[in-house]
């Protein structure tokens, strides 16, 4: 592998991207999904996370163009140069351009958008070309594997981790073999080590989010169903940070990085994503870990590392006197909460594969359970 001269890299781990325009060769949703999959290729082996902007300037601006398109590197019609991208940095740096004189496809015919996007986004993250023929960053296009079976080569992993290091989460082991360990298509719901990214109610149902999926448990069907998040809400990101239902607003709020979305049933509300700082968080807060809304009190609790804030859903304002320390008001509950749920008058705090049932009246942890106990395991 090689990096660009001077090894430019992003100085932050959470990056934004925006698909500025689309190719007429594919439905928009297919382009969205191909780009998201291409980003996930790099997300799975680094500390990097990505969230999508629908307007304004993102770190990585993705566009389709033909011929001369304003960057002095004109495209050359069908064939040869398929796309190009710029190394990390401000303005047009980091951006990726795709030649719309190519026939963009999702399969082996034409030019597979996922494979080319994964390569170009490697450039956007700081990788230059590799002379390893089996590497994604080899400059010559070849449809070698079906995108659903795609694996980064060790050369690609060594290259990107030379810039950003491996994926930090303790429950992910960086595989030192010739390719990233195959990821199961859907997480195993009764895996005793299962943890959740976020948990929320939704009109009497229970949603438990993990990676790109969520389990849905309803009153009339105790057997939980598993779905892709994108199957219900195509514009939502995956690998969420937090989610909660504001019952009085009949909405579920979904959080990732410094953005959040409002969802009503199947519909993502217009005007989202918004910045979490519009809720009243200080600029120092870059993401939240978990959130839960107390139905009776109409107060929402946001958990960030070892502190928490309280938000007044009626006045849409953060209450004064916050943040407070979690341990002071929720004794027995540790920091870095993964998710929180309110049920049967208790709060359930999720930490990795465990959850702690907290009695707010007795102000004590009453039970410790497995996180996936809600999945009938």
């Amino acid at each position: 592998f090689t990096t660009f001269p001077g090894s430019p890299k992003w100085r932050k781990n959470h990056l934004t991207y925006r698909i500025v325009d689309y190719t007429p060769d594919l439905p928009k949703e297919s382009v969205d999904s191909a780009i998201e999959k291409a980003l996930k290729v790099w997300e799975e082996v680094t500390p990097l996370t990505f969230s999508r902007l629908s307007e304004g300037e993102a770190d990585i601006m993705i566009s389709f163009a033909v011929g001369e398109h304003g960057d002095f590197y004109p495209f050359d019609g069908p064939g040869q140069s398929l796309a190009h991208a710029y190394p990390p940095g401000p303005g047009f740096y980091g951006d990726a351009h795709f030649d719309d004189d190519e026939k963009w496809t999702l399969g082996p015919s034409g030019t597979n958008l996922f494979l080319v996007a994964a390569h170009e986004l490697g450039h956007s993250l700081g990788l230059f070309h590799s002379s390893n023929k089996g590497a994604l960053m080899y400059p010559v296009y070849r449809f070698s594997t079906n995108p659903t079976q795609f694996r980064l080569s060790q050369d690609d992993i060594d290259g990107i981790q030379s810039l950003y290091g491996p994926r930090p989460s303790p429950d992910t082991i960086v595989v030192p073999l010739s390719s990233v360990a195959p990821r199961p298509e859907t997480p195993a719901k009764c895996d005793p080590a299962l943890s959740f990214d976020a948990v929320s109610t939704l009109r009497g149902e229970l949603l438990l989010f993990k990676d790109r999926y969520f389990w849905r448990r309803s009153r009339w069907n105790s057997e939980p169903e598993v779905h892709l998040i994108s199957a219900f809400w195509p514009s939502l990101p995956s690998y969420l940070d937090a989610a909660y239902e504001a019952h009085s607003k009949d909405s579920v709020f979904i959080f990732k990085g410094s953005q959040f979305w409002a969802v009503r049933g199947n519909e993502v509300q217009a005007g989202y994503p918004k910045s979490i700082h519009s809720l009243g968080f200080p600029p120092s807060v870059r993401k939240i870990d978990a959130a839960v809304s107390d139905k009776q009190k109409k107060k929402t609790y946001f958990f960030v590392e070892d502190k928490y804030w309280r938000f007044n859903e009626k006045r849409n304002l953060m209450d004064k006197g916050f943040p407070r320390l979690i341990k002071d008001d929720f004794p027995g509950v540790k920091s870095q909460v993964d998710a929180v749920l309110q049920a049967f008058g208790f709060f359930y705090f999720f930490h990795g594969s465990s959850q702690f049932e907290f009695d707010p009246n007795a102000r004590t942890v009453t039970h410790t359970l497995k996180s996936n106990s809600w999945l009938m395991c």
Partner: protein, 82 residues
């Protein structure tokens, strides 16, 4: 080093190869002068540099296996500096 027809100016693919080397291997624009001088071999060296990078036999010639790879679609980002 006589250019044994490896890349003589009238090689049918020379123009394409010249563009390719300029675009992806930072080859100078004045390749014309280079061909006039008897002992010039920068273009042979450039072809060998490209062949090395792309994992091809470093013949310094525009042989069929080299041309095959050069004609394949690829990323527009150069392989060498610039």
């Amino acid at each position: 080093y006589p250019l044994h027809g490896a890349v003589s100016k009238d090689h049918p693919s020379m123009e394409f190869a010249q563009q390719y080397l300029e675009k992806y291997y930072n080859f100078e624009k004045n390749v014309e002068q280079v061909f006039r001088r008897k002992n010039s071999s920068p273009v042979v060296k450039k072809i060998q540099e490209m062949q090395k990078f792309l994992g091809l036999e470093m013949t310094g010639k525009l042989d069929s296996s080299t041309m095959d790879v050069m004609l394949k679609p690829r990323c527009g980002v150069p392989d060498v500096g610039g």
